[in-house]
Point group: C2
Chain length 672, copies 2
Amino acid sequence: MEKRKDLAAQPDGRNRVVIERVDPRIDCGRFPIKRVVGESVTVEADIFTDGDNSISGVLLHRHLQDEEWSATPIEPIGNDRWRSTFPVIKMGQYEYSVQAWIDHFKTWRRDLRKRLDAGQVSPVDLQVGAQLITTASARAHGADKRALANWASSIKSATNPLEGAHLALAQELADAMDRNSDRSFATTAHENLRVVVEREKARFGSWYEFFPRSCTSDVTRHGTFEDCKSILPYVAGMGFDIVYLPPLHPVGSTHRKGKNNTLVPSETDPGSPWAIGAFEGGHKALHPALGTFKQLDAFVAEAVRLGMEVAIDIAFQCSPDHPYTKDHPEWFSHRPDGTIQYAENPPKKYEDIYPFNFETEDWKALWQELRDVFLFWIERGIRIFRVDNPHTKPFIFWEWLINEIREEHPGVIFLSEAFTRPKVMYRLAKAGFSQSYTYFPWRNTSWDLRQYHSVMTRGEIAEYFRPNSWPNTPDILTEYLQTGGRPAFMARLVLAATLTANYGIYGPAFELMENAPREPGSEEYLDSEKYEVRPRLVDKEKPGSLREFIALVNRVRRENLALQSDRNLVFHDTDNPELICYSKRTHDLSNVVLVVVNLDPHHVQSGWLEINPRDLGIPGHTEYQAHDLISGGRYLFHGPKNFIVLDPSKVPAHIFRIRRRVRTEQDFEYYL
Amino acid sequence: MEKRKDLAAQPDGRNRVVIERVDPRIDCGRFPIKRVVGESVTVEADIFTDGDNSISGVLLHRHLQDEEWSATPIEPIGNDRWRSTFPVIKMGQYEYSVQAWIDHFKTWRRDLRKRLDAGQVSPVDLQVGAQLITTASARAHGADKRALANWASSIKSATNPLEGAHLALAQELADAMDRNSDRSFATTAHENLRVVVEREKARFGSWYEFFPRSCTSDVTRHGTFEDCKSILPYVAGMGFDIVYLPPLHPVGSTHRKGKNNTLVPSETDPGSPWAIGAFEGGHKALHPALGTFKQLDAFVAEAVRLGMEVAIDIAFQCSPDHPYTKDHPEWFSHRPDGTIQYAENPPKKYEDIYPFNFETEDWKALWQELRDVFLFWIERGIRIFRVDNPHTKPFIFWEWLINEIREEHPGVIFLSEAFTRPKVMYRLAKAGFSQSYTYFPWRNTSWDLRQYHSVMTRGEIAEYFRPNSWPNTPDILTEYLQTGGRPAFMARLVLAATLTANYGIYGPAFELMENAPREPGSEEYLDSEKYEVRPRLVDKEKPGSLREFIALVNRVRRENLALQSDRNLVFHDTDNPELICYSKRTHDLSNVVLVVVNLDPHHVQSGWLEINPRDLGIPGHTEYQAHDLISGGRYLFHGPKNFIVLDPSKVPAHIFRIRRRVRTEQDFEYYL
């Protein structure tokens, strides 16, 4: 037998409790889940042991900066599943685990109660308990130590078993034994589970994108940071809290694109801001026409004064004129003819763009430089980054970079601009991106919207993926918006702003309902600002704008906590597929919002909503009020079916605050 | 920047391929999956990378005794999911993993085709490819080395790009490049995934349990191994291949139980075989009344001669007279009065049984001794063990023990007798038990049976849990059997024998349809063999036995490969809840079996089966034959709805072999 494995290598065989399936958990603990400050993490695990012993356990948790673990009792919820919750109050990372052990006193106490019920308490049964209490007293300190010793001797010296049993079942004794439970054979789940805690804006924000170059009244003049300051009150007035600017860097001239993405630019064409880098500098430089760093600082300060933050675009690619191409040719792929390989998607060529070669032998220096680009802008006060096409750079690079940045700057928010296959988008979110653009622009039917948003806001995906919905971007003018007119823009705005807690628009194109494509079948804007200066300071004052409607929707978002989360989204059936219906509510039901949108921009649509009132926190048999926060109208709803008509020529949506009837002490009823 | 983490600690950042969700995988790789010799493992994984690079990959696999890994190409099946399969041909453990890398030649070749289609092949494009081929030639050996060098120079010296492109797209070149693909930046999933491969009997077996003590014609005489030999032809005649015997050890006399589990035995009462141990010995001894080891050997040899194996019961518990109680009192719990703690479930006491205390300080010696009990019987030729109440011993103990045994005896089969909560039963299977008893005895409605067996035979659970269905055991005489008469026994037999590949009965009680409970409401047998000798050699010849029906069902099981697996179970709807319908088929559709059972033992039931013919491998529009292997009747079925009548007073079940119509070369049609 000696050739067999030595049991010395075996972990202690007396750790008899099993802990399985600790959730939430992403890819077996490979990635952290996400929260924002002030939220909590509810942890569940399967916990059981052999035989019929009672178990006690705790949820362990600590901020990585803390030495000590905190422990919260974990309680059974049926079928060997246990649950507990801990709050996250600081940015950074927490780790959590579950520990459980066989609780011999709890077992004994449970059995004693059964013996008592059966009239079968014997003196030796009490001796067993007294022994457990004496051992606990030896482990305990202070008051518990003395109290437990006293309990043990009182139970031993009870005049009869019945009296002893009643003593032994005292709640104070159970509490003291709980505090001094024997954990020598405790099992701990070693899964290295973590939660990244960001600031609240990672969960809830309203983005507004505009081109600084277009902050001008005169098409011949390039907008400046000074000009941009003047548009900020307009943006703040619409209720946005993040102003997002496309790349601010010098634009290359080699292979520069002309108006409408043509290959032969005129001399005055400014080129695409995403063709980054010229002799004036690269990713750490400002386009000279925009102004100086000091002027940028002033612009940022003005945004902050108006309650907004500035987000900038980080696009890791270079124009042929970028200084990197001379200083670090080793960071690019070279063709056998000695030229640097431009971007292409054969047979399409993008000769104004050089991608980095992440397989360069010098990858470490490249990674460090790209990290330093972020740090450079962080030092200038930027805390939110929209990252262009992250899925064309290695996932492992982003994971490293975001961790590096967050170690000192846990408040930095990263938005992933990856319109690609689902698993790729999810991986970027797991790697650390705070938020992600989604396929929302192309989800236009109720089935599509419901299916897509259900996947994103439930289960494991919801633990790490935060959707950010954009009805339009400078690259995306959907067919729905091209053809649906004002009702389409209103419907898409309401959907973006209420389906997900984060959303954004590209303006003023959105509020002005610009809908002309570059050519039929294209999703590109005609005369896109990507390739030319547009005099937006004039545009924004155009009549008929949606700005007031947008301001209203953003106010509703701010005033209704239920709209500031994603994981509380619940869809409801309607009998008309042109009507989509969903609700969101706070945990405590103090805020419940019900949204109905007519997806048909051309016709009045009506139908029956099918809502279990309980999903809105309403007892089944009572009336409740649906208070439309857009029109101000108040409707009485009752039971599971209620009728709705939505006329797209007016407003194609209701955003109801659900108000339940309450009765005052004076027996007066009103809706809360 | 120097204070930041050194990138030296970072794995190579050029390993850009991501591998996620490798399946099958139990609890993140904590436990192996299960197979038997001759089966295969189909592995899937999410594999993708940044950008639009092409990927190549392999499924890696090897038996733990092999030095070298085998590699099978892995192919995409859509949505970034990839798949491959490897066969398992030896008992023991295999490990498997997935490796994938960016394939630059594959990418280049794909793009070249696009360039060619667009008429845009330039000489430099071909140079890029020639460079890749030259580098591959440097890596290659032998014929490939020379061939690749030749390819490179032919492509470089092509008279025009078109000719060069056509050369470069040759399949032989692609194959040679595949064989010499650059894996320097390959990603390997390091998840330590394993599969335990057992012998075929772990997947498919028919068990017959009987009490050796009852192999007698005379109630006053204790049966012997010699007597037991005489019952073997009877068991083999019914088609069973595993003969399972309750504990064979000396039975304790202290607190011995009398007939019908009474507390005061008569002098001749033999006691329960599960009260193991007396002065004659314990778990490594034979009850003297049964005979000697030599006689046992002869019994085992006779079983083998008849095509059967002998399984014995291992019950880790002791009677108060077990030698362990004197030699190793430290392996038991002691009460404050110095006595050993007997088993109890307050207020019930089981004073004839002492459980081991697995929290003893001497747990290592205890574990080793219990392992040696198995080794003792293995040395006597026993290879199948039914383990009594494993859920009352630590899971970690079983995991260690089963691994220890299997290291030298990979053919040993362990059946877990744990009728308890689902997660506990699953954990024992994960810990290594080959098979498990299930709640089948108490699943009597079609909804219950369907739901329960669907859970067990699909997804992750099916990767490690092998159900073994028993309509009765010496502890379980269900109400259904007590009240349903002959049709109930026939229906439960067919269900057990066809729902799961492993099943067993406790006989001759089963075939004799014994159905008298100890008292109303009890599931214990009246005059149970657990506590007394029953003259079964007389009993078994009783008229009206189900033995011929059982023999027929077991023959159907042997002759129909589809019935020898669990994971191929598919349920079909019927419009009558008293009729349950399901099918099983082989991968190649060469064997398809359809079962219909009338669950109502009292009334004729009829109804429509709703079966998509495709689920049976039949094209939707053709007739097919349902050949009843019980009655011999042949029915023509057509389309998705077919009518069935089952009269429980005759046979309450059909076991159809599905035969599809084929046409001979002579244009003659028949059913295959």
